[in-house]
């Protein structure tokens, strides 16, 4: 480990042979489509089928055809699989159609007209917070020390309000599922997904079948980023319902417009900060109010909110903290998981606010952060004692040096007087908790197995899904190291609930650290068995595995999650060790702002992070570069436009993600401090890099132009407005 072993899946991917769900077909297969609501809130009055169409060639499924419960079960079980009498958001699934010709299926979809009695909807956080709107999905309060006392000790009290918009995951492979289903055989689905066992649980509820009768297989998955965490359960249920009724295989593949308009996005947010600052720049009190727009159904909002809340105070020491937060219900399509999971939203606010504080008190933004970084032995807002060495000061120095912070700022101070381009530099410092929050991992009780195969390999069995991040390769590397053998001797099963145990969902930067640790211990166990039985004497590893299988008729070693010793968490008081450990980072953005077009481009980017031991440097860099790219999109390009709760820019022509020419060189630096409880010393990495780019960039824009923009995405129009306000 610690080497950039080539990806196991690379040869299939570069030759076009990797099989994504849309590459699969089965004999007699039908194509499924979804009729969706065209209004955000309303009562269904009537459904009209165009009489000129041959409806007998179609299979149609409505809510009353569902054999089990009409629900996509997750946290609150409030989201129907198909709308019954009412719809609560635009693009809510109302009816399903399948046809053997995909063009005809699409044409059938267009010939169904659903009539609604429209009802008033809620389309903003403000409207949702008004007294007459419903209760929030979830709220939290985190409290430490005495905030009033902290404000009394402050020389300055700095306030600010910050907002972030929705963001589309925009995996390049649209969502899709292929299903076969019958009462006798049960249900089998193949799909693009991150969490096969979530899909299994959802299908068991929808069909009223025991989980053993539901088989879920993950296909090669063309990016997920959280977008394929919960929504595939919905699509799988739809495809399987059509298959159940038609007794034929059914495939549903979303087109891009449907995928953008209907599936989940990053929760929009609003954060208010009030911070007390002592004469030396240290923080004496932090009062934070954080709100997420959850959309029309609960989905994952409580856990997204929880992560956003816990990260809202940034990586700073402060004795007096109060954080209040809530996820409110609106009539937007439900918001859901997206890389970072609430943290990029609250960290955007915290890191923009740090620059506001720096400006108010006249201190260099790097110095302000340096003075306030958490240190070993400090406690976070939830009362967690940081037991590890915190490398933030070193990360800051490396990031500043690498970006040539001092020198560039001096140069820009001179050159910014001339011409139409203004240049600036901005910092963001942050941490990201790895794995599930609080008692989450304990409840999941993930399991992994490593088996010896008759072909002489060790085979990892886990439900973790490869979706580009390199998990197949990293988990095999971890197993190979624990087994003391070559990477070629190790393989990994494609996630299939009929074959692999539930090692939890592929989310929360938990795969390398949490699942990897289980792989390590199961692999060590297999190694011990080989050693103790003397099979390795005079045999290669591969021969020993073959011999083991021959003698014992197969061999599997299992491992199950154990929390690191001493970890405590109180779910009711929301205090304790929110995460087993944190990864830490400092990022620096350099921008150029064109004063003619008001366009901002990021001209250089440095990301310095401490993620424990780096298991595979090339994959780790790939995660950082990809995460930073999405963070740049979040800051400057990616704007979801709603009209009364409907997404109106549901195409790649009008929802703009960064193209090759829009991105700067991204430089990643890793400081490695091995983490005692991670496999080979590793911590989580996947989400960390998307937390910082947006605040770093907007801080840099302020450095360049003086315009203090507090909302992302920041379009050229937003910048123009802000500049006009600054000059008034």
């Amino acid at each position: 480990m610690g080497e950039s072993a080539p990806r196991k899946d690379a040869p299939a991917k570069v030759t076009g042979r990797a099989q994504f769900v849309d590459d699969l077909t089965l004999p007699e297969m039908l194509y499924g489509v979804t009729v969706r609501s065209t209004v955000a809130r309303g009562r269904i009055q009537r459904i009209r089928f165009d009489p000129a169409f041959e409806w007998d060639e179609c299979v149609i499924v409505r809510a009353e055809d569902i054999p089990g419960r009409n629900v996509v079960p997750l946290i609150a079980d409030d989201q129907p699989c198909l709308a019954g009498q009412v719809v609560n958001h635009a693009e809510e699934p109302v009816l399903l159609i399948a046809h053997e010709d995909r063009h005809m299926a699409e044409s059938a979809r267009r010939r169904v007209k659903v009539e609604y009695e429209r009802l008033p909807g809620v389309y903003s956080i403000d409207a949702a917070l008004r007294a007459d709107a419903g209760a929030p999905f979830k709220s939290y309060t985190v409290a430490k020390g005495n905030v009033e006392e902290g404000f009394r000790r402050a020389k300055w009290v700095v306030e600010g309000e910050y907002e972030t918009g929705a963001q589309e995951q925009l995996y390049i492979e649209p969502q899709g599922v292929l299903a076969v289903a019958s009462p006798r055989e049960g249900v089998t689905v193949w799909g693009s997904m991150q969490c096969p066992y979530y899909v299994q649980r959802a299908l068991a509820a929808v069909f009223g079948l025991p989980e053993e009768m539901i088989r879920v297989v993950q296909c090669e998955t063309g990016g997920g980023f959280g977008g394929k965490e919960e929504y595939p359960s919905m699509i799988a249920a739809h495809a399987a319902l059509l298959a159940w009724k038609s007794r034929r295989p059914v495939k549903i593949i979303y087109d891009r417009a449907e995928d953008i308009a209907a599936t989940t996005k990053r929760h929009p947010s609003r954060t208010r900060h009030r911070t007390g600052v002592a004469p030396d720049g240290t923080l004496t009190a932090m009062e934070i109010d954080f709100t997420l727009d959850g959309g029309a159904y609960c989905t994952l909002s409580p856990v997204v909110l929880s992560r956003g809340t816990i990260h809202a105070g940034g990586p700073y020491r402060c004795d007096n903290v109060r954080i209040s937060s809530r996820a409110v219900a609106t009539n937007h399509p439900p918001h859901g998981a997206f890389r970072g999971f609430g943290a990029p939203q609250s960290i955007f606010a915290m890191e923009r606010h740090m620059d506001r504080i720096a400006k108010t008190i006249g201190m260099d933004p790097a110095e302000l952060r340096r003075r306030n970084f958490l240190r070993q032995g400090d406690t976070t807002a939830t009362g967690q004692v940081i037991r590890e060495r915190v490398e933030l000061p070193a990360l800051l120095e490396r990031a500043l040096a690498e970006s040539r912070w001092e020198e560039k700022r001096r140069t820009f101070a001179v050159t910014n007087g001339n011409g139409n381009v203004r240049r600036g530099m901005g910092i963001a410092a942050f941490m990201h908790g790895a794995g599930f929050t609080g008692s989450g991992e304990r409840h999941l009780r993930s399991q992994v197995a490593v088996e010896a195969t008759a072909e002489g390999k060790a085979r990892v069995l886990a439900s973790s899904c490869e979706m580009g991040q390199g998990s197949k390769t990293v988990l095999c590397q971890i197993a190979a190291e624990a087994l003391g053998t070559k990477l070629e001797d190790v393989e990994i099963a494609q996630p299939d609930t009929a074959e692999v145990p539930d090692s939890g969902p592929t989310v929360a930067s938990r795969t390398s650290m949490v699942v990897g640790k289980l792989v390590e211990s199961a692999a060590r166990d297999l190694r011990r068995t080989l050693d103790q039985s003397g099979l390795l004497e005079g045999r290669t590893f591969s021969e020993a595995c073959r011999e083991l299988v021959k003698r014992r008729g197969g061999f599997k070693s299992w491992s199950r999650y154990q929390p690191p010793p001493g970890q405590w968490w109180d779910d009711d008081r929301y205090s304790g060790d929110a995460y087993g450990t944190y990864s830490w980072a400092v990022q620096v953005a350099e921008v150029a702002v064109d004063l003619v077009t008001y366009e901002t481009s990021v001209t250089a980017f440095v990301s310095a992070q401490e993620v424990g031991r780096v298991l595979n440097p090339a994959l780790a860099e790939g995660q950082v570069e990809g995460g930073v790219a999405q963070g740049i999109g979040l800051a400057l390009y990616e704007k979801v436009v709603y009209d009364k709760g409907r997404v109106v820019n549901s195409q790649m022509t009008n929802y703009i993600m960064p193209a090759p020419g829009d991105l700067p060189p991204i430089r990643s630096i890793f400081l490695e401090t091995p983490y005692e409880f991670g496999p080979g010393g590793a911590k989580g990495l996947g989400e960390l890099p998307i937390d910082g780019p947006a605040p770093a960039i907007l801080n840099a824009v302020e450095d360049a132009t003086g315009a203090a923009v507090a909302r992302i995405p920041m379009t050229p129009e937003d910048l123009l407005d802000a500049l006009e306000r600054t000059h008034e």
């Binding site: 040869p11 030759t15 090759p660």
Partner: protein, 157 residues
């Protein structure tokens, strides 16, 4: 719907006869008609580049080419490059540099990169960025793709 029409194409060096609906796209003919699933559909509107192939020597966005227009043409898809046993130099560079993450943009990216590197020009990152402007990747941030293209491009005869 009107009747299917028969098209005659040279695909990856072999003559292929295929039926298509008049309104279908070259992308449909390749994926459904000919079962060449390596060419991907990411957007269906010419924005993402996952569907690009070479048609009569030129890079085309196959989701925007009407099938009828492709009649009589010669097409190269990702399946026409090296197989897993004998990767072409661009495919090999993508493997070596870790330029494929989820792999969905990869076939289109490799086709576009090969078209860009024809003639063996050595390019700097800025000109590769410009040359690949029509190909989107959500996973990589493009850095490793640039490195791969640079490596393979420089190695071309």
């Amino acid at each position: 719907m009107s009747d299917q029409v028969e098209l005659l194409l040279q695909v990856n060096g072999a003559a292929r006869r295929v039926e298509a609906w008049p309104l279908e796209r070259l992308l449909d003919v390749l994926r459904h008609g000919l079962g060449l699933k390596g060419t991907k559909e990411g957007c269906g509107e010419g924005e993402c580049g996952s569907c690009v192939v070479i048609m009569d020597g030129k890079l085309v966005v196959s989701c925007l080419v009407p099938a009828l227009e492709a009649d009589g043409s010669s097409i190269t898809t990702i399946e026409g490059l090296g197989g897993e046993a004998g990767l072409d130099s661009m495919q090999q560079a993508f493997v070596d540099e870790g330029a494929a993450q989820c792999g969905f943009c990869t076939p289109g990216m490799i086709m576009a990169a090969n078209a860009l590197c024809q003639g063996g020009r050595t390019m700097d990152h800025a000109s590769i960025r410009e040359g690949l402007a029509g190909n989107l990747c959500r996973c990589t941030g493009y850095m490793k793709i640039l490195a791969a293209v640079r490596k393979a491009g420089g190695a071309r005869p």
